[in-house]
Subunit: 246 residues, 2 copies
DNA sequence: AATATCAATTATTGATCACAATATGAGATC
DNA sequence: GATCTCATATTGTGATCAATAATTGATATT
């Protein structure tokens, strides 16, 4: 949980030698993963000082990271200047997923055109991990594997324009995605991934796109089915502190 | 040029009363406009302290703004931690514009479905300003009017998911766009805008999308035609300081 | 008992400081 | 004359400080 870069390197006397220029990177990695993996709940306000204290650093690097996440629309700021995880209305959620279809469908199709045997075997391996995570009802494992599957596929599109946009979208629906998996009626499956892998092997970019779009659309429908009119509300209370490795 | 919020409000004694919580907003507006309007050239490194000094504030708000612009992919950081305006390779530029077609085409089509008489008259007015700016060879006026035309159209799509993504793209190609207009062979016209307005009046969303896509594609081709293999290079030197209102 | 008001705490914001790494420039050497 | 080296200056980073605004809690009043 702690970052505490003060002991990153030690000199001969064993004294602390603070590593410079990399604290905020660690904080950013922590926050990004936390958002995608559900460590922070929609509506939760992030206190600058408390986060910094919890991470063992000064408020300064946290400030920079929160600012960047606000710029990426992953967090929103209250009138008081605090930042919090946005609550998604059903309208915004379907908007988000409609644009996901467009962007990720395009990335998937491009990736299919650059497909290599190494990519296929890598994706197959990741999908296997996802299936075992589903079997074990491991929410964090599910989300992590699913995200890894999608992103390694999109990475093959080799577009450093598309990729940041997709990441921005994932950061936005990440917290809601996690909450949805907590709901009993939420379907757990990775059926579309097999179709995608098959289309990838056959060298059919259009089919790969179709598979991704179907996967996204299915997820969207499932999320909307468990979401109330004013956003997604958990039927039970959830502790704000949630452990995760990053 | 200066921001100098210390005199934003004065009390009865005429003493300075610093307005809190709005300095970085002004800096952000300044920088965003500066990027889109060509005040900063591709490759130019932005010094934190010099920018702050030039804007009449402490380095702190500038720090936050630069950080946010890096997060939005409008600026990139060097290994030294400085930030600079990215130089776009022809490949990245066409990638950028391909995604523009997708995103802005979609936004335009949605906007056409929500079209109102007020929107049409507003766009017509903006287009008139653009035409006079073209006549006067007023680069800043051109870019400003053109941007206003596109963004008021997209705003009618009423999507706060699509809008930030589009803004991110515009911030990325903004500096290059400005440079391109400096090149004599660059065509200056707004032919597509009339088609878009006509399609808007006829209530044909698909045609509106087609118009936007054609406009974007034309701009892309023009940019690529004047770009050398390793990015766009000006045939003459350009002073780094450029005045603009914001 | 419920609500409104007021005070105290706590929050972010902008400025300043200290430090280390980088970039810059002049000078010496080949 | 070109290049390498070293000293200087400048940069970003992380921490701390002062000031302001918002939130929370308690208290008093209806």
């Amino acid at each position: 949980m702690r970052i505490d870069m003060t002991k990153a390197e030690t000199n001969g006397n064993g004294e602390a030698k603070p590593a410079r220029g990399h604290v905020h990177e660690h904080v950013l990695r922590y926050m990004r993963r936390g958002l995608m993996v559900g460590a922070f709940l929609p509506g939760q306000v992030m206190s600058l000082r408390k986060l910094a204290a919890g991470l063992g650093t000064s408020p300064m690097p946290v400030r920079e990271v929160l600012s960047r996440l606000v710029a990426a629309n992953a967090l929103e700021e209250t009138r008081g200047g605090s930042v919090r995880v946005p609550k998604l209305s059903p309208e915004k959620l379907s908007d988000l997923f409609a644009i996901r279809e467009m962007l990720e469908g395009s990335a998937a199709e491009r990736a299919a055109r650059n497909v290599t045997p190494a990519l296929i075997s890598e994706l197959t391996e990741i999908n296997a991990q996802l299936l075992t995570a589903i079997d074990k009802r491991d929410i964090l494992g599910c989300l992590s594997s699913n995200q890894k599957f999608h992103f390694t596929l999109y990475e093959a599109a080799a577009s450093d324009v598309l990729m940041p946009l997709i990441e921005s979208l994932w950061l936005q629906f990440g917290p809601t995605m996690y909450m949805s998996l907590l709901i009993p009626s939420m379907p757990w499956n990775a059926a579309d991934h097999d179709d995608i892998l098959a289309a990838l092997k056959d060298g059919k970019p259009a089919a790969v796109r179709k598979g991704i779009v179907h996967d996204i659309r299915t997820t969207c429908k499932a999320l909307l089915s468990v979401a109330g009119p004013q956003g997604l509300e958990l039927p039970f209370s959830q502790g704000p502190e949630l452990q995760f490795d990053y």
